[in-house]
């Protein structure tokens, strides 16, 4: 009872305190970060409303004037990016593809930092045999090559969109774990941890209330990186045919374009999804980096006082 329920309560308080913190707002001062955030907000919007506002359904077969399917149609007013070989509107598929991409990023990133941070925090704070065990496990996961592992796992759990994300999350948490652990090791030595111990706080309480808020900036950065990597890798897996082909993600779009053998002749179809993936990941990384630069300034906002000493 006692400590566990208290930690949950104070966990919520921790998060709300955190968002009121000005670090995030400070990061938004940089122009590059602002652009990145705007782009990501646009994506979020499209993730929710995309399918509603796209001109066509992603699987509407476009008919040509003569009644047959408009395959590989040139870009036109009705279809700014042309149509695919199956007669779908490229632009619509692009817009509808935002949602699975955002889901991938959020789910993947979320999984990576949840597993990674938990392992890192516990390993770093508790130390001893627990640390040894967890780190050996992390080392094992580091040895795993992602794509082959994904292929193998998929043969076990089956193909699918969520399965592909799951597989990525299952492997990529390793980097986060190491970094969070080293941060935890540093935070652990600071007097305020000792102070909490001396006041009688238990280990779970200290980890959640004291260590976590101080490694949160790093965790946030890794969420951004994790989301970015997941999106790219998932697109790769989709391209390889490991994901669910009916989910209209950008990876599948590239796959379809490749399968048709017409990548060069229908450039918008082949290039647009690739560009979108690039921009998305770039924005996510830029946001993460912008935040990290600011958070790295530390708790002494009076750097100026140091300058004058």
């Amino acid at each position: 009872m006692g400590v566990a329920s208290r930690s949950v309560r104070t966990g919520k308080e921790t998060i709300s305190n955190y968002w009121q913190d000005s670090d995030f707002r400070k990061a938004l001062r940089e122009r590059s970060t602002q652009i990145a955030v705007l782009f990501l907000l646009l994506l979020l919007f499209l993730a929710v409303f995309g399918p509603t506002i796209a001109p066509y359904e992603h699987d509407t077969r476009i008919r040509a004037d003569d009644g047959g399917l408009l395959r590989l149609g040139e870009p036109s007013l009705d279809h700014p990016l042309g149509t695919t070989e199956s007669g779908y509107d490229v632009l619509s598929r692009l817009i509808v593809g935002v949602r699975p991409t955002v889901i991938t990023g959020l789910l993947g990133g979320g999984m990576i930092i949840t597993i990674g941070s938990s392992v890192g925090l516990i390993s770093g704070y508790v130390g001893g045999r627990v640390d040894d065990g967890l780190m050996r496990m992390t080392d094992l996961v580091f040895a795993v090559p992602l794509i082959p592992f994904a292929l193998v796992l998929v043969s076990v759990i089956g193909m699918g969109f969520y399965q592909s994300i799951f597989v990525i999350g299952l492997v990529l948490w390793r980097g986060t774990a190491r970094v969070i652990r080293s941060q935890t090791l540093q935070v652990r030595e600071r007097p305020f941890i000792l102070s909490a111990k001396a006041a009688g706080a238990g280990t779970p309480y200290i980890i959640i209330k004291h260590v976590l808020p101080n490694v949160l900036p790093m965790a946030f950065l890794f969420f951004a990186l994790g989301a970015g990597y997941t999106i790219i890798l998932q697109a790769g897996l989709a391209f390889l045919g490991v994901s669910d082909p009916t989910v209209p993600s950008w990876g599948i779009m590239i796959r379809n374009a490749y399968d048709s053998g017409r990548m060069l002749s229908s450039l918008p179809w082949a290039v647009a999804p690739g560009l979108m993936i690039s921009f998305t990941v770039l924005s996510v990384f830029t946001l993460g980096r912008g935040y990290e630069e600011v958070a790295g300034e530390g708790d002494d906002g009076d750097a100026t006082a140091y300058a004058a000493a």
């Binding site: 208290r6 308080e13 921790t14 305190n17 955190y18 913190d21 600071r190 007097p191 305020f192 000792l194 102070s195 909490a196 111990k197 001396a198 006041a199 009688g200 706080a201 209330k209 004291h210 808020p213 101080n214 949160l216 708790d299 002494d300 906002g301 009076d302």
Partner: protein
Amino acid sequence: MTSEALLETQGLKKYFNSGKSLKNWLLREEEESVQAVDDVNLRVEPGESIGVIGESGCGKTTLLRTLMGLYDPTEGDIVYDGKKMSDFTKSDWKAYRRNIQIIFQDPFNAANPKMKVKAYLKEPLNLHGIPNKEEKIRETLKQVELRPPDRYLNRYPGELSGGELQRIGIARALVTDPDVILADEPVSMLDVSTQAAVLKLLSRIQDEYDVSMIYISHDLSTVSYVCDTINVMYLGRIVEEAETKTLLDSPKHPYSQALINAIPRPNPYSDRERTQMEGSPRDPVGLDTGCRFRDRCPERMPICEQKPKFVDASDPDAQEHGVACHLYYEHEEAEQAMGDQQIIGGGN
């Protein structure tokens, strides 16, 4: 003076293993231990403030952490309110954590930078289920002269100065109404003008709250301002214990004498001589039982190969004054001979 000690240590030892190296294992050597705290007997009575003075490496930090319960003693006991720490039940520990509080050295890092002052002060109250939190916090902030309290409650540590932060550290220590406060160099990171204010605050708090204090520092001049009694620590052992004035006026242990003498005086006419002492304290590793100061002591004698007893060396009509030094007690013939023997036999 047989009043009950509130908190005391009895023969307290804390050794650390420096870790078996491959060489140790191959040669089947014993691991050398770091004898950070060696047979320390301290006592503090209700309302009393005692200082523990020593230079870096003397073990005072380890002593503090062992008192806090962060380390398990290697040998010996810590006794609080008559009960030994090794016999503590869970509720005894709870009570201990409520009644023994700490003030840390580094005011900038003693509070979680992501936590507001209000939450920081509330934390011990939450952990111990003490009611009337808002009221208590406000009251305590006023006690440490941070007025009006509202100006400080919603701030983050990064927004406050060293002096303010240290007062908040003191407030946190006071908020549970403790019996004993352990202060770890509370003013050493503050500017002189702030130091004075905080020292005076500590003095005042002691009187008004009737709380005992164990004040640990390397700076004798600040300790003497706050403490009634001072213990001098060297390489893990207490070498002298006396009332503050008595110690400053007539230190008995050669180390205390050297230490007090080496303190600079704020007076350009001061004609004190520079220290004659050479070298620095040895590493507290693999020490034998003999006096740990003997390699630097100007009064070294053969008998010093043996561990000196802690004896009463009070001057007549003066307060109690204890020293751990062979100069201050009679030795039997046999003991003397043993001392000589150890020197000849290549004792360390």
